[in-house]
Symmetry: C2
Subunit: 228 residues, 2 copies
Amino acid sequence: LVSLKGITRVYGEGAAEVRALDGIDLEVRQGDFVAFMGPSGSGKSTCLNVLGCLDVPTTGSYAFAGVEVTDLDQVQRALLRRHYLGFVFQGFNLLARTSAVENVELPLVYRGMSSRERRIRALEALDEVGLLEWQSHKPNELSGGQQQRVAIARALVSGPQVLLADEPTGNLDSERGRDIMRVVQKLNRDRGITIVMVTHEEEIAAYADRTVHFLDGRIARSEVSKAQ
Amino acid sequence: LVSLKGITRVYGEGAAEVRALDGIDLEVRQGDFVAFMGPSGSGKSTCLNVLGCLDVPTTGSYAFAGVEVTDLDQVQRALLRRHYLGFVFQGFNLLARTSAVENVELPLVYRGMSSRERRIRALEALDEVGLLEWQSHKPNELSGGQQQRVAIARALVSGPQVLLADEPTGNLDSERGRDIMRVVQKLNRDRGITIVMVTHEEEIAAYADRTVHFLDGRIARSEVSKAQ
Ligand SMILES: Nc1ncnc2c1ncn2[C@@H]1O[C@H](COP(=O)(O)OP(=O)(O)OP(=O)(O)O)[C@@H](O)[C@H]1O
Ligand SMILES: Nc1ncnc2c1ncn2[C@@H]1O[C@H](COP(=O)(O)OP(=O)(O)OP(=O)(O)O)[C@@H](O)[C@H]1O
Ligand SMILES: [Mg+2]
Ligand SMILES: [Mg+2]
């Protein structure tokens, strides 16, 4: 489904150059569940952003479902994202002035769904992450972990084919983190959703089928998960 | 040093009422290192904000160094904060348009320090969290974990008497999280800085002397750390 070849992402020039990605080769098949781990600053979010068509690589090839994404323009990438992808951002990126349920409904607006249908689906997604009671709260009326769960619900509500999640349990206590991971794992097993998840917690990475380890903008090694 | 008695923090009214803190009694002595743990939404950040004079309780008493904080006005609370406290926010709260070093210098501006002295101290603080090379980067040119470390450096740069940290390692890989915890523990042991830290990771809470467990806006229990 996804094939990265020789991907680099370079910021700045000369002495100030930062090679956020420095030669990435990666294959992800439909229905895979992959975890990205690695030190702070090693390129995990940058790689996820390239996969999510939110960032364009400096060099290299990115094929998604046979389409060469680096050949697409910004409009075409936006359409691809909207159609296939759900994204949980490291910083959540919720709209500050709108309620939790309206934040979660947002991806459905593009699908030409009725407002009644959008509301039902958004409430179901919030229920799945334990936040049904909080649906009318704005982000600043929610705890850090509650905001993170709203971001997760929003990424899932449109039933995407691919879920890209950047540290989705970073602000959650262990029990809640496990609840979310069971939801995510079930989506992968029952509905074949492809998942790429950045995490720095080994117990969370263990829910994936394999873990790719980043170091200094490269992939240092890959490990298959033991416990299933 | 710090004494909370019967603290509540209530949002909304009637059926929509949220009791974020529902009767908190807590004593923290000078030089203590306390961890707050508990489920998402249980009141940890709210309690830390009350301690940090960033939020005013609905009822109850908060005595800081013998001063009744609930009797102070907003200006007096701001002065108290500036003088005694360093704060690491759950969402970092960095200034988006300024560089890492300028963000870290900010607390020192209030101390009437020369700009040369501020710069030296800010660079030392950044060095302590492993970010000296990144001092000129703006927040959007930094990874999530790097932004978190800038927030930590900023909280420490003015040598506060009390450090309040809301999930300071939530975006850091385990090794970097341990580095930060060693810095923090050293400040507590060598310089007697009082530390209250929210975390949801047991290995991080283990650096504290004791852990206070929150549940539904109350303190459910308190545990002394074993390993020292
Ligand atoms: N402005 C507000 N209006 C209504 N409820 C609020 C408001 N701010 C916070 N809350 C609620 O207060 C409760 C406690 O929030 P708090 O941020 O202290 O939790 P927390 O323990 O830090 O959670 P987390 O681990 O998710 O960060 C939450 O249920 C939250 O939704
Ligand atoms: N606009 C930019 N200009 C310069 N450097 C950048 C920019 N954006 C990101 N970087 C750098 O690229 C590197 C990789 O960043 P990335 O966000 O992918 O790391 P990460 O693995 O997600 O880290 P973390 O675990 O801390 O979230 C970092 O060193 C970061 O400072
Ligand atoms: Mg990241
Ligand atoms: Mg919190």
